[in-house]
């Protein structure tokens, strides 16, 4: 009975979404307050209904109600409780419900926090959000209903895919969706502005917090997904340029560009049309990512059972929203007036270069991802575009960005002084380079590109420090005053510095791992010893073990350094009883920022076992850098200026604070 109520709530949500998608829009045209008021109320009601429906589905999973087809297919009564919760979105229907839930959440947040938005803009934004809700509600109800019943109810479920039985499933999808779907708010703001045919710096002020929040969550979501793939799949890799990874990475690139162009628009009223276009493109890429992952055109760990009707449906949603928004853009953009002028060498100029590089790099990723699909449709040839393509194009294109990032914040708005910025940074650049060369010699050997990569990474980190350093005027002012100036800097300045430093840390990790990692594949018998990364591994033998819903063969390794045992690790091959599906559970040991990664293969004929051992130096920097970036996002988000709903402070212009301290 409760299941049917959940289903019914979803249908009511559709009705509500249809009302919200029309009434406030008409109200905004007629400037009818009562009609516009439907927007906020309707959005909150919509969220409540979707949340209730989602709660019902969760309940069905938690109590293992196998009369619900979705639960039967993706759950098992013996599964640990946490996976029963996270298993709700570990399948196609449930993950679409999560998508919808977060979409409704963002609409409700706009309704609640958007009190200081102009009434007509708010009404339009909420209507556009509701259009997206309608599309996805229809998709769920017509093609992916999670509430379908089975009669008679089976006694036991088919179990969740073992790879998904991990804490990663509880964290990665919600974070990723908060990012993906968060950009829907920027999209709705862009479309609403185009409908009104009016846009100004205030628009960018309202959009930026949403873009920043979405970007922050997307950063965390991608980093979490990468770490999960790294430790769960047992291949030792952390990024495969898999189309599904690219699907989440492209909105991130476009979203990063959006954050920066919205900054220019907010401060200088320039790049208006471009910012609106980016807002549309970013969410379009999110939608496309959803299409690629959910339609079954790709096979990957994310492609749950696919059904052609779903692919066609999502493709229609995709074409409707992207095509519609871009047509509206083409129709209305010429009406938007161009804004402030600036010299090529200025903060704006640097941000334009940032946007150029990010969007072009995003374009190459898009090309590499879609080209095999397009080629197969047209000629029938099956090809694969692998990591070498992406490393070459994306890597080379992004390299200049890494070098210019530290200059950006040091340039003045409107007309900057490159020489001045260069002077401020040459000490930093020299330091970074010396440190990189030192690092290089310490690790003996490696190609020149890696030295340059390490230098770029260190330059980013030190450049971020230098940015704060000069703003505070350390060296020029007495220490006390410099400290007070540092404390007086807006939080967004710290956010910028943290995000840029985080990027540097990630670059360091990526370059260090790809250059200095070592990999051994060998056969080991009990008692045998091997070396990796300066440590000695001793294989102590295998043992059988049983978990709640699996059995495993575990290999035990003792790790020693200089003859002294320092750690030990288990690495296992698991078989999940319900699906008889084997998985590899890698043994991972962390030493500072580096890791030793031990993965088991098959037993050999003469009683040994194949073991694959990686030494991954500084690998944790990759995700650590992403965490620092996301932390920068949160710090920036807590800036009073950006706080949604904070009273506007017109009296005190912020411009002087943002100027580099001279």
């Amino acid at each position: 009975m409760i299941i049917e109520i959940g289903h019914y709530a979803l249908i009511l949500a559709l009705a509500t979404a249809i009302i919200v998608s029309l009434v406030p829009l008409i109200g905004a045209r007629r400037v009818d307050q009562a009609m516009m008021d439907v927007g906020p109320i309707g959005s909150v009601v919509l969220f409540a209904l979707v949340a209730f429906s989602f709660g019902v589905l969760t309940y069905a999973h938690v109590v293992s109600d196998f009369s619900v087809k979705n639960v039967w297919e993706n759950s098992h009564s013996l599964m640990p409780l946490i996976y029963k919760y996270s298993g709700v979105w570990g399948n196609h229907e449930g993950s679409m419900m999560l998508w919808l839930l977060i979409l409704a959440l963002f609409s409700a947040l706009v309704a609640i926090f958007g009190r200081n938005l102009p009434e007509t803009l708010k009404a339009n934004v909420l209507s556009v959000q509701a259009w997206i809700s309608v599309a996805f509600l229809l998709f769920i109800l017509l093609t992916s209903n999670p509430f379908t019943r089975l009669d008679p109810a089976p006694a036991e479920g088919k179990d969740l895919n073992p790879i998904l039985q991990d804490i990663g499933l509880a964290i990665h999808p919600p974070l990723l969706y908060l990012g993906y779907v968060g950009f829907s708010v920027c999209f709705s703001f862009a479309v609403a502005a185009l409908i009104e045919g009016r846009i100004d710096a205030a628009w960018a002020r309202w959009v930026r917090p949403w873009a920043l929040a979405a970007w922050t969550f997307l950063t965390l979501g991608i980093a979490m997904g990468s770490y999960w793939a790294y430790y769960e799949l047992g291949w030792g890799g952390w990024w495969f340029w898999d189309p599904v990874e690219n699907a989440s990475f492209m909105p991130w690139l476009a979203g990063t560009a959006l954050l920066h162009s919205a900054l220019v628009m907010e401060k200088r009223e320039a790049l208006k049309i471009w910012t609106v276009l980016l807002a549309i493109l970013t969410f379009s890429l999110s939608l496309m990512g959803t299409f690629l992952v959910r339609s079954g055109v790709l096979t990957s760990v994310h492609a749950f059972a696919s059904d052609p009707s779903r692919g066609v449906f999502i493709l229609c949603i995709l074409l409707l929203f992207i095509g519609g928004a871009l047509s509206l853009f083409a129709f209305r953009a010429p009406r938007l007036t161009a804004g402030g002028l600036f010299a090529p060498i200025s903060r704006e100029g640097a941000l334009v270069v940032n946007n150029l590089i990010l969007t072009v790099a995003c374009g190459t990723v898009l090309t590499g991802t879609l080209y095999p699909l397009v080629l197969e449709t047209i000629t029938g040839d099956k090809i694969s575009v692998g990591p070498p393509f992406f490393n070459m194009t994306f890597g080379l294109l992004m390299a200049p960005l890494l070098v210019i990032v530290p200059f950006g914040p040091l340039l003045a708005w409107k007309r900057g002084d490159l020489l001045g910025a260069l002077q401020r940074l040459y000490v930093v650049a020299a330091l970074a380079f010396v440190a990189a060369v030192l690092f290089f010699y310490l690790q003996h050997g490696g190609p020149v590109m890696s030295v340059l990569g390490l230098a770029a990474g260190l330059f980013l980190v030190l450049g971020a420090v230098a940015d704060l350093w000069y703003r505070a005027g350390v060296g020029k002012q007495p220490l006390g005053i410099a400290w007070r100036r540092l404390k007086g800097l807006p939080r967004s300045a710290f956010g910028t510095a943290l995000a840029h430093a985080g990027l540097g840390i990630s670059v360091l990790g990526i370059v260090a791992v790809s250059t200095f990692q070592t990999e051994h594949v060998l056969q080991m018998k009990q008692g045998e010893v091997t070396d990796a990364g300066g440590y000695t591994l001793r294989f102590d033998g295998m043992r059988e073990a049983t978990g709640p819903n699996f059995t495993e063969d575990r290999g035990h390794f003792t790790i020693a350094r200089g003859g002294v045992d320092v750690a030990d690790v288990w690495s296992a091959k698991r078989i999940y009883t319900a699906g008889q599906m084997p998985t590899t559970e890698a043994g991972i040991l962390t030493f500072g920022p580096s890791q030793l990664y031990v993965s088991l293969g098959d037993p050999t004929d003469d009683g040994g076992i194949v073991v694959r051992i990686w030494w991954k130096p500084y690998i944790l920097c990759i995700w650590g850098g992403a965490l620092v970036m996301a932390f920068g996002g949160f710090v920036s988000l807590s800036d009073r200026r950006l706080r949604v709903g904070a009273p506007r402070r017109k009296a005190k212009p912020l411009q002087p604070v943002m100027e580099p301290a001279e």
Binding site: G386, F389, T604
Partner: protein, 150 residues
């Protein structure tokens, strides 16, 4: 510089970056794209040694030989009955089994008809059949419904 010249310089700079990117993409495509083959294709149309390809098909029954070290030999076959021997050093994916679909990536070394694979694509779960292989098996009439339903 006049404003017009400045603008031209900016637009020129942007365009040249985009052109460079396009050239780079085209160059990378010509170098790093691997075509997909099945044993039957190779019998009628062999690829020159050193060319990177993807080889897909079914793992031949009884063909898997694990040596003493970490090198594994197996055969990839398809409905035509053609067969390609594959050598792979490393750890096979969890779901690698005889009679199941597989996709390998690598090259033929010159003077050898053994395919040296550096990658054997992992299947993520029981339901998953490499899509390229599934499409071709359907064409060849070798597709069994229980494979799809599993």
């Amino acid at each position: 510089m006049t404003r017009k010249q400045k603008r031209l310089a900016v637009i020129g700079g942007g365009m040249s970056f985009i052109v460079a990117a396009v050239l780079l993409v085209m160059f990378a495509f010509s170098n790093s794209v691997a075509y997909f083959y099945m044993p039957a294709d190779l019998a009628s149309n062999p690829v020159p040694p050193g060319t990177r390809i993807r080889l897909g098909g079914l793992v031949g029954e009884g063909s898997v030989v694990r040596g003493a070290g970490s090198t594994v030999r197996f055969a990839v076959t398809d409905a035509s009955g053609d067969l390609v021997h594959v050598r792979f050093t490393g750890i096979l994916p969890d779901l690698f089994r005889e009679g199941q679909g597989v996709v390998t990536e690598g090259t033929f070394e010159s003077g050898s008809d053994v395919f040296t694979a550096d990658t054997v694509l992992a299947k993520h779960d029981e339901k998953y059949m490499p899509k390229d292989v599934a499409d071709r098996l359907k064409q060849q009439g070798l597709w069994k419904d229980e494979q799809a339903a599993k």
